[in-house]
């Protein structure tokens, strides 16, 4: 780039003309929670963490397996009577292996026995699948509080505008929430001595070594 010096006064004027239009962006400059999506001016009204039971978050729909929802297609009073006895499932849903406090809990501790199209809290209050975070938050309180303010969970969207939330279940399988180990992406190549020399493959373990 070839650049030329310019009188300071003119630079100041140009700079001012550039900065002034940016000032409304100040209003959008916030990191808090949003009650509704995207609108920056609306965001200015809601400051601070909202009360738990009133929080509504815009998130993508829950990641149901294809064809599984609505559950009431099968689980209705006529086709399948409710069996509240705790047991391993054999006929259906046997592919779901519960590894989530399975010693003390089973399916109907979260899924509502009477209406399978929703979940229920410990006290019995019904919770739609779109608000499953409220159910998770009962036990995982700290995670829930962190997730509300954007500290827990994958972060996408705008740092100074509408935050995009994902439901807990978008990352955590509710039946086996612990993350599986992933294969790592390739290790960096070790510094080689010359451009012609092929880079040595990374040796397992140990940081040292050079050529």
């Amino acid at each position: 780039m070839v650049i030329v010096r310019c009188p300071p006064r003119r630079a100041l004027l140009v700079l001012t003309c550039l900065v002034l239009p940016l000032s409304p962006a100040l209003l959008a400059c916030r990191g808090g929670m949003e009650v509704t999506a995207a609108d920056a001016s609306q965001a200015a009204e809601s400051r601070g963490p909202a009360p738990t039971h009133e929080l509504r978050v815009e998130a993508p729909p829950p990641p149901f397996t294809d064809g599984i929802f609505p559950c009431s297609d099968c689980h209705n009073d006529t086709d399948l009577p409710v069996n509240p006895v705790r047991r391993p499932l054999v006929d259906m849903h046997d592919d779901i292996v519960l590894k989530h406090d399975e010693e003390h809990r089973w399916c109907l501790d979260c899924h509502d026995a009477k209406n399978r199209d929703q979940l229920h809290l410990a006290g019995g209050e019904a919770v739609p699948f779109e608000e499953s975070y409220r159910l998770c938050g009962q036990c995982h309180g700290e995670k829930y509080r962190d997730w509300r303010v954007g500290v827990h969970g994958r972060r996408i969207g705008q740092w100074n505008g509408a935050k995009e939330y994902l439901l807990c279940v978008h990352c955590h399988n509710p039946h086996q929430p612990k993350f599986k180990a992933l294969p790592p992406q390739p290790a960096p190549t070790r510094p080689g001595r010359s451009p012609q020399q092929p880079q040595a493959a990374p040796a397992p373990g140990g940081a040292s070594g050079g050529r």
Binding site: I3, R155, A181, A187, P202, G205
Partner: protein, 290 residues
């Protein structure tokens, strides 16, 4: 024999004065570092650059000249209890910031640490390559430019090619850097990379959304480093590494905004910085989320 004082003739004085004046005028016409270029002239230069890059890479390239937003100081927090060392951030960064593929340039370096030794670089391994991560007995520490408030790299640069912007990002003027690598010697975090030969950037892989101080293609012989994805964050978006992290270990925001998640982390979590005793005052914080 003692010297007789010789008087300067008018002709001699005139010659010298004319030479000095010409020199001064020339310095006004010559290139300057981007830090000192006035905004309108910068816009012209950037438009030139856009045309150049569009021609070279066959894509419509935009080079942003977005300045720092007032009232913004960027901060970054990384949850060490979450990072599994999958390196998706590393490669997301490579794609977003037009890093050279060969020779390989990575702005982020993930270190596999021993839980037994804690944050001890003597036991850090950046070349880990197991089947899956995380590995038992290890935790993972990604390191990139810490955007120090008291940046030693800015202090030592002899040409002033690197400086800290008002929103806290330490930037490099790639056209002004002479490649002396003083900044690399001065950086305690190994955050700066040098283009030891011509960077290679396949046309298809070019990210056409550039910033003049960020991810525009670099040349051989200059230093580069993480800029907090200046082309994204000055447009309100998160850096690419934040969005790429599959376990949500990375957090970013405006330190001056009391409602930001970065402030929440600073206030509620156990936060630390690397090599604190060096008083670099990084704006890249590490914390334990659990």
């Amino acid at each position: 024999m003692a010297d007789e004082p010789r008087s300067v003739t008018r002709r001699q004085f005139g010659t010298v004065a004319a030479a000095a004046a010409a020199g001064w005028a020339l310095t006004a016409c010559g290139p300057k570092r981007l830090h000192d270029v006035p905004k309108d002239r910068l816009r012209t230069l950037i438009q030139q650059a856009e045309r150049e890059y569009s021609d070279t890479y066959g894509k419509t390239v935009t080079v942003s000249d977005a300045g720092p937003m007032p009232g913004v100081l960027f901060g970054y927090a990384l949850d060490i209890s979450r990072c599994i060392g999958c390196r998706r951030c590393v490669y997301a960064c490579v794609e977003e910031n037009n890093q050279s593929r060969d020779p390989q340039v990575h702005w982020i370096r993930v270190l596999q640490m021993d839980k037994e030794h804690g944050v001890d670089f003597r036991h850090a391994d950046p070349y880990y390559d197991p089947e899956t991560v995380p590995q038992e007995g290890h935790f993972y520490l990604p390191v990139q430019c810490q955007q120090c408030r008291n940046a030693p790299c800015v202090k030592v640069c002899p040409t002033g090619a690197t400086w800290q912007e008002k929103d806290g990002i330490v930037v490099i003027d790639y056209d002004w850097c002479i490649g002396c690598r003083c900044c690399m010697a001065a950086c305690p975090y190994g955050a700066r990379q040098f283009n030891w030969r011509d960077p290679s950037l396949p046309k298809d892989d070019v990210n056409p959304n550039m910033h003049y101080l960020g991810n525009r293609p670099r040349k051989r012989g200059v230093v580069e480093k993480c800029t907090f994805c200046i082309q994204r964050v000055r447009a309100g978006r998160y850096p690419a590494c934040v969005e790429a992290c599959p376990v949500g270990a990375r957090k970013f925001g405006n330190l001056l905004d009391p409602d930001s998640e970065i402030r929440y982390i600073m206030e509620h979590k156990r936060v630390m910085v690397l090599k604190e005793e060096l008083n670099t005052m990084p704006k890249f914080f590490y914390f334990y989320g659990t």
